[in-house]
């Protein structure tokens, strides 16, 4: 894995900082290397902070009223209520589903000290509501809910997300998001992370879940790309994001060699 004078890689340092065991070889290098020791110290410090971090506590609503009154802010500067905000929560800070959602969600709910965020309806005109459960007296707001409600980007809503998992033979992961803009236009943002051999090129597709049909969205240059979605395209029907490795063979069909894939979820 590691040879000669190379530093221990960041993943191994991360595992070490989290308290996992690593190979004797790697341990010996870290002990002897100032750079790796400094990195490890910083990562261990963040780990300590996180382990003792606790949840954020939102101030009571009357605090904003006092701020607005003292500053003489107009009505347009008042924050919307929680119920009004619930419909426009962005997905980036809430829940990104994986292909294996049930175990992930189970695990998340069992250990999460804060409130849990649960999607209500599958999708309603490109948006969805969230319900917060378990917030103690409305004061101890779990951090997830706090940010789910307040983190709003004005012009864009993320209406669906996907975690892209590698297909056999590939060592890459990725994520995808569907942004919906105020004018109704939608953009698929694809983000690939990992070692992807690029002898050919990559192409982004939306597939039917049973792979009985597919729509090409274009080529992915580098590891990130934005793809305009045709207005009539039904994301319920073509709900699976797929990134394939294509060859310059003149054949426009899907090569059958998918790098990552994952279902979009609201």
């Amino acid at each position: 894995m590691r040879s000669g004078d190379e530093h221990v890689d960041d993943e191994t340092l991360t595992l070490l900082a989290l308290g996992e065991d690593i190979t004797a070889d790697d341990r010996a290098h870290v002990a002897a290397c100032a750079r790796c020791t400094a990195e490890l110290d910083a990562l261990a410090d963040v780990t300590d902070l996180a382990r003792s971090a606790g949840d954020l506590v939102a101030p009571a609503p009357h605090v904003w009223d006092a701020v607005a009154a003292e500053l003489g802010l107009g009505a347009q500067a008042r924050p919307t209520t929680s119920t009004a905000k619930a419909g426009t929560a962005t997905a980036t800070s809430t829940t990104t589903s994986t292909a294996t959602t049930p175990p992930a969600r189970r695990a998340g709910s069992s250990d999460s000290p804060g409130a849990e965020v649960v999607p209500l309806a599958p999708r309603r005109r490109g948006r969805w509501g969230w319900v917060a459960a378990g917030a103690a007296a409305g004061l101890l707001v779990g951090a997830a809910v706090t940010w789910g409600l307040v983190d709003r980007t004005p012009a864009t809503d993320v209406v669906a997300t996907a975690t892209l998992d590698p297909l056999p033979g590939w060592d890459a992961i990725g994520s995808a998001e569907v942004e919906e803009h105020r004018d109704g236009s939608r953009v698929l943002v694809v983000d690939l992370d990992g070692d992807v051999d690029s002898q050919g090129f990559r192409e982004v597709w939306l597939l039917r879940p049973d792979v009985s049909g597919l729509v090409s969205l274009g080529t992915l240059e580098g590891s990130s790309g934005r793809f305009d979605l045709p207005a009539g395209l039904d994301l319920h029907e073509f709900s699976v994001v797929d990134v394939s490795e294509e060859q310059f063979d003149g054949n426009p069909a899907h090569s059958g060699d998918s790098i990552v894939r994952g279902p979009l979820r609201a």
Partner: protein
């Protein structure tokens, strides 16, 4: 617009990556979600500095829990924490001409104001106590805006901003003490995916802490 934000500190690790083999090391780069988040913070900083009233509300919605939690942990009473929270946002808005979005992120600036407000509250408390000769109702184990308090709250804030499965993975590693192996089994994810998420998420927490906790 992104050039306006704390430029070099954020992603310094990319230039210092160890030369490991290509198959072992995913590229170090910001995810699209994080980029959007940074751009949103930049836009909000510019609007705030420009005096857009909607930006106060937006800043309050985003960071009042951060400010309030720092104050609460430092001072120990809800009443004082609320007072500090109010003061921070009022002061921030009134002195917005001193905020330079090309030099600092808005949350870092707010955290800096919070440190001062908390220190003032501690002084006020000590003065009141001297005047009245009363015994303090709360045992003061916390110093004035203890740096660790601020650091912890910043990390908690960033942890809350992670999407899933990253947040779940990190929580299992932090609070359940599971190894990456056990997490991969529990979540039915590839081992490499879990390792990669752990590395990137921890790096993200570190960056946030270093960037927004920097103003003292």
């Amino acid at each position: 617009m992104s050039s306006l934000v704390a430029p070099s500190r954020s992603w310094r690790s990319s230039s210092e990556d160890p030369p490991v083999s290509a198959s072992e090391q995913p590229t170090v780069r910001a995810s699209a979600a994080r980029d959007e988040d940074r751009e949103a913070v930049d836009r909000l900083g510019l609007a705030f500095a420009a005096g857009d009233e909607a930006a106060v509300r937006e800043a309050y919605e985003r960071w009042s829990a951060l400010v309030h939690t720092i104050a609460l942990r430092s001072l120990g009473t809800v009443a004082e924490a609320e007072e500090v929270t109010q003061q921070v946002f009022v002061d921030a808005w009134r002195s917005r001409h001193r905020f330079d979005p090309s030099r600092a992120r808005l949350p870092a600036w707010l955290v800096g104001i919070t440190r001062h407000a908390v220190a003032d509250a501690h002084e006020r408390r000590a003065r009141d106590r001297r005047l009245s000769g009363a015994v303090p109702p709360v045992r003061e184990s916390v110093g004035a805006a203890d740096d660790r308090v601020v650091d912890r709250v910043l990390v908690a804030d960033e942890l809350a901003r992670l999407g899933d499965p990253q947040r779940t993975i990190l929580r299992l590693a932090f609070y359940d003490d599971l190894t990456h192996d056990q997490i991969a089994t529990r979540l039915d994810l590839p081992l490499g995916t879990v390792k990669s998420h752990l590395r990137r998420s921890l790096a993200r927490l570190r960056t946030r802490w270093e960037v927004d906790g920097a103003l003292r």
